[in-house]
């Protein structure tokens, strides 16, 4: 080759690196301008992306909140040891102290027969009848707060069996079934959220891909002309990739807005409900980290979608 093919242009050109970055910034901004030029079509695409992202994210948030509530319930999943009637208060105290040392027990609380009777009188209103009894029929009770490991709910039933074997214990009670069911349900819901996220993630990819594909077809003439003028494939690809990136960015921000609007809408009733249950439960929103991850995922998916479309379409469009 006698001469470099670029011989014709030699005056006042940017250094290649600088030209590259200048061009990237220019395309980044102009592709946004391109989107605002057809606002309705762009808004529709962005809204589809936003809904596809908001749905699994909202579900995730919901589960996260339920987890939070059920953590509260965990603490109320108590075990009651009804001791045999002849157990002296001294023995009760020693037993409680001994149990307190176990790893799988968070805390213990003693309800003496006297306290139990008092409570019963207060709550039932059968005070006179009970006063006429010469002997307190109620046993001492030790209320155990088990350590609940959500990974391993069986530990609690193990503890229950141990408690039943204690010589002082008459009856040991725990309603474990609902805890088990709750964990199973949360587990299923968690998996469902993953599956839905995966499917809707693919939906985002395809939506952006299809939008970009149509965009490329609409601008076929322009692509051919720019190719004839000497544009490289990378040059032609760039605005479409940045358009995809914008869809992802704006779509994810809209999704976050939708989620936060949804949260704001249910916040007041949830607070009312929490007050009714005497709970200090607070709705958890998306943290900054989570939001950034959502934005990142959306951008990557959209960029991926446009990459797929551009790769397939551009090679088909050649001047002829």
């Amino acid at each position: 080759m006698a001469k470099s093919p670029e011989r014709g242009v030699k005056v006042q050109r940017n250094s290649p690196m600088r030209a590259y970055f200048t061009h990237h910034i220019r395309v980044f901004i102009s592709s946004l301008g391109e989107l605002t030029r057809r606002p309705i079509a762009s808004m529709m695409t962005v809204t589809v992306i936003a809904i596809a992202l908001a749905l699994p994210s909202g579900l995730y948030l919901l589960l996260h909140n339920i987890d939070q509530i059920s953590a509260d319930w965990d603490s109320s999943a108590q075990m009651s040891l009804f001791l045999k009637g002849n157990t002296s208060s001294n023995k009760v105290e020693r037993l409680a102290n001994r149990l307190n040392l176990r790893n799988d027990i968070e805390s213990t609380k003693i309800i003496t027969p006297e306290q139990a009777l008092e409570d019963f009188v207060r709550i039932s209103g059968f005070g006179d009848v009970l006063n006429s009894l010469d002997k307190n029929p109620l046993p001492a009770v030790i209320v155990i707060q088990p350590v609940i490991d959500s990974e391993n709910p069986l530990l609690v039933s193990q503890l229950l069996n141990d408690m039943k074997k204690l010589p002082e214990v008459d009856i040991a009670q725990l309603d474990l079934e609902w805890v088990k069911r709750l964990y199973t349900m949360i587990d299923i819901a968690n998996r469902a959220v993953w599956v839905i996220s995966l499917l809707l993630g693919i939906a985002v990819l395809l939506t952006v891909g299809n939008t970009i594909r149509l965009d490329i077809q609409n601008r076929k003439e322009e692509i051919i002309v720019t190719k004839l003028i000497g544009a490289t494939n990378a040059f032609i690809r760039r605005p479409f990739l940045y358009t995809g990136l914008w869809y992802g960015l704006v779509g994810s921000i809209l999704a976050l807005t939708l989620i936060n609007i949804g949260l704001a809408m249910i916040e007041t009733p949830v607070q009312k409900l929490a007050t009714l249950y005497n709970s200090n439960f607070q709705l958890i929103g998306f943290s900054l980290d989570n939001s950034l991850v959502l934005i990142l995922i959306s951008c990557v998916l959209s960029l991926g979608g446009s990459w797929l479309a551009v790769g397939r379409q551009l090679s088909k469009i050649e001047p002829s």
Partner: protein, 227 residues
Amino acid sequence: MIRFDNVSKQYPGGFEALLGVNYHLPRGQMAYLTGHSGAGKSTLLKLIAMIERPSRGQIFLDGVNLNNISKNKIPYIRRNIGIIFQNHQLLFDRNVYHNVALPLIIAGYRHQEVSKRVRAALDQVDLLSKENAMPVTLSGGEQQRVGIARAIVHKPSLLLADEPTGNLDPELSKEIMQLFERFNQVGVSVLIASHDLNLIDEMGYPVISLEDGQLSRNDLLNKGDRD
């Protein structure tokens, strides 16, 4: 500038568009390419612009054998050519200035340099006052001149024009041809495909003619041997 060495082009399906074509357009030369429609004019131009590849033979552009140019290097070859189309191929979603600026943007020129060169190019085709106009608002002749400004803005060493006056009346056609003449006078090689034989005669530049894919006339035979 352009050298065809026994070039043939057969399209898929067997149609022989060009058959053993030899010619040499010296650097700085202006010439016309004529022939009936279907004689192979467009194919010949497409081979130079690397829109098509030859089936046999070799094409040298500015001393470079185009057969050795890989697909991803084609854009850089094209940047050295200014191509003018019959239907001028302007982009209708942007104004005259941005149409003309496109080759410079592609080649990565600085902003100030772009505006300087675009104005110089528009000045040469006498359209400086229309830089903010949208192409649709221009007449056919003006649109063609914008196309020419875009083809010369990056100062290519070769101008290719495919029926540049196809849709214009005789007076405008002559103006356009004189414009090409002016570029040729500052050293640009020019090859114009046209069937406007009267105008070609009037301009008085060498002519190469194609008939059924073969050269039937070659005024370039005795021209200088500069590349």
